[in-house]
C-alpha cells in the first residue's frame, strides 16, 4: 500500500471531497479509518464472518461508485453504514426466500411466549464490566431470529425511527413495533437468566 504521510491528519470531509474527484488514496484512507465499523455492522446483522467480509467489501465498492451522490447531509461513516445495512437486508431477504419458515419461527414473530413473561425488575447488567456486558449482548443478539435482531440493531444502534425501519425492512410499522417489543423482552430475559446462572 502506498504511503500518504499527510492523509492521516486530514478530516473525513476533505478526504470525501478528494475521493469524489477520483482520488483513490483518499478513498483508501477512508476505508482504513472505518473498515471495522462497517464490518461490525455487517457482522452484527449476518452473524457470519465470511458473509460480513464480503458484504462490507461490496459496500465499499458501492460507496466508491456512488460517492458523487453523497451530499454530506450525514457523516460519511453513517452514509456508508446505511449502504452496508441495505446490502445485508438484501442478502437476508434472499436467504429467507430460500428457506422454508418453521412453525417455531412464526410463533417467534407473534411473540406468544415473550408476551406472557413477567417484567424483569432487576437490572441484569448491574455490576458487569463493559467488556463482559458487550459479550453478553453479542451472545443474546446471536440467539434472536434475524428479524428481531435486525429491528433491534436498527432501532438501538442505528437510532432509526419505526417508520424508517419499516421502509428498510419492507414491512409495516406494526410489524416493526411487534418485533422490537419481543426482541427487547427476549433480550432482557436472556440477560436475566445468565445473571441467575452466574449467581447460583
Amino acid at each position: 500500500m502506498a504511503t500518504h504521510p499527510e492523509i492521516p491528519e486530514v478530516s473525513d470531509e476533505i478526504l470525501v471531497r478528494r475521493a469524489q474527484r477520483g482520488n483513490m488514496p483518499a478513498f483508501e484512507e477512508l476505508v482504513g479509518r472505518h473498515r471495522d465499523k462497517i464490518y461490525a455492522r455487517a457482522f452484527s446483522m449476518m452473524r457470519n464472518e465470511d458473509d460480513a467480509v464480503d458484504l462490507s467489501q461490496e459496500a465499499w465498492v458501492k460507496g466508491w461508485q456512488r460517492l458523487k451522490q453523497f451530499q454530506g447531509e450525514s457523516s460519511f461513516v453513517t452514509w456508508m453504514t446505511r449502504i452496508v445495512i441495505n446490502l445485508c437486508l438484501d442478502q437476508l431477504r434472499k436467504h429467507k426466500r430460500q428457506r422454508a419458515e418453521s412453525i417455531e419461527q412464526l410463533e417467534d414473530d407473534l411473540g406468544g411466549v415473550e408476551r406472557q413473561m413477567p417484567a424483569v425488575t432487576v437490572n441484569p447488567t448491574e455490576g458487569l464490566e463493559r467488556t463482559e456486558l458487550r459479550a453478553r449482548i453479542d451472545k443474546a443478539l446471536g440467539q434472536l431470529s434475524y428479524e428481531h435482531r435486525t429491528v433491534l440493531i436498527l432501532h438501538e444502534f442505528e437510532d432509526l425511527e419505526y417508520k424508517e425501519i419499516a421502509k428498510r425492512m419492507q414491512c409495516s410499522i406494526g410489524t416493526v413495533m411487534s418485533r422490537l417489543f419481543y426482541a427487547r423482552r427476549k433480550m432482557a430475559n436472556l440477560m436475566m437468566s445468565w445473571k441467575r446462572e452466574q449467581q447460583s
Binding site: R82, N86, R184
Partner: protein, 183 residues
C-alpha cells in the same frame, strides 16, 4: 394487558406516540403497576443496549482488505455495464430512427410517383407486397402496391417497441431503490 396496549406502551417509551395518546399512556403507567413494570423493563433494556454495541474487528489486514476493494473497483470500472453505455447509444438511436424513417418515406414517395406515372395499360402486376431493405436494425419497412385499387401503402415498424425500450427505466429505478441511501 393486551398486545396492542403493550405496543403502545413501547411507542410511548420510544417517544413515538402522538402527544394526545402519550398523555393517556402516561396516566395509565402512573396508575397501573404492571404497566409501570413493563415500561421500566423496556427502558432498562434500551439503556443497557445504548452505547454497548459489541465491538468486532475486521478479521483481515487493512492492506489485504483494501487490495480486494481496489481490485473490485478496477474490475467494475473496466467493464462498464450495458446501462452505463446507454446514454450515447440511446441518443444515437433516437436520432437515427426518425431520420432513417423520414428518408425511407421520402424515397418511397419518389418511387411511388414514378410507379403511378407509369402507363398502366400494359402493366403486368396488379398487386405487389415488397419488404424494403433499410440500414437501420431498429426499423423494418414494407410496401404494398395495388394498381387495381390505385393504392400504395408503406408500413414502417419500430422493432424496438416492447423490447429494450430506452424509456423503460423501471428496472433501473427499482435497483436504485433497493440500495438507496438516505442520508
Amino acid at each position: 394487558m393486551n398486545a396492542e396496549l403493550m405496543l403502545k406502551l413501547q411507542a410511548w417509551v420510544d417517544g413515538e406516540l402522538p402527544a394526545s395518546e402519550a398523555a393517556h399512556i402516561a396516566e395509565w403507567v402512573r396508575k397501573d403497576a404492571a404497566a409501570a413494570a413493563l415500561a421500566a423493563e423496556l427502558k432498562m433494556t434500551r439503556g443497557f443496549l445504548t452505547g454497548n454495541e459489541p465491538e468486532v474487528k475486521l478479521p483481515e489486514s487493512r492492506e489485504f482488505h483494501w487490495s480486494k476493494i481496489q481490485k473490485a473497483i478496477e474490475r467494475a470500472e473496466a467493464e462498464p455495464s450495458p446501462r452505463e453505455a446507454l446514454p450515447w447509444a440511446t441518443a444515437l438511436r433516437r436520432f437515427l430512427v426518425p431520420v432513417s424513417g423520414l428518408a425511407l418515406v421520402a424515397f418511397l414517395t419518389v418511387l411511388s410517383i414514378g410507379i403511378f406515372n407509369r402507363d398502366t395499360s400494359t402493366g403486368t402486376t396488379d398487386e405487389l407486397l415488397v419488404e424494403e431493405e433499410t440500414l437501420s436494425r431498429h426499423v423494418e419497412t414494407s410496401t404494398y402496391n395495388s394498381q387495381a385499387n390505385n393504392m400504395y401503402v408503406v408500413y414502417i415498424i419500430n422493432k424496438d417497441v416492447g423490447d429494450d425500450d430506452p424509456m423503460d427505466l423501471d428496472s433501473d429505478m427499482d435497483e436504485d431503490m433497493d440500495d438507496s441511501v438516505i442520508q
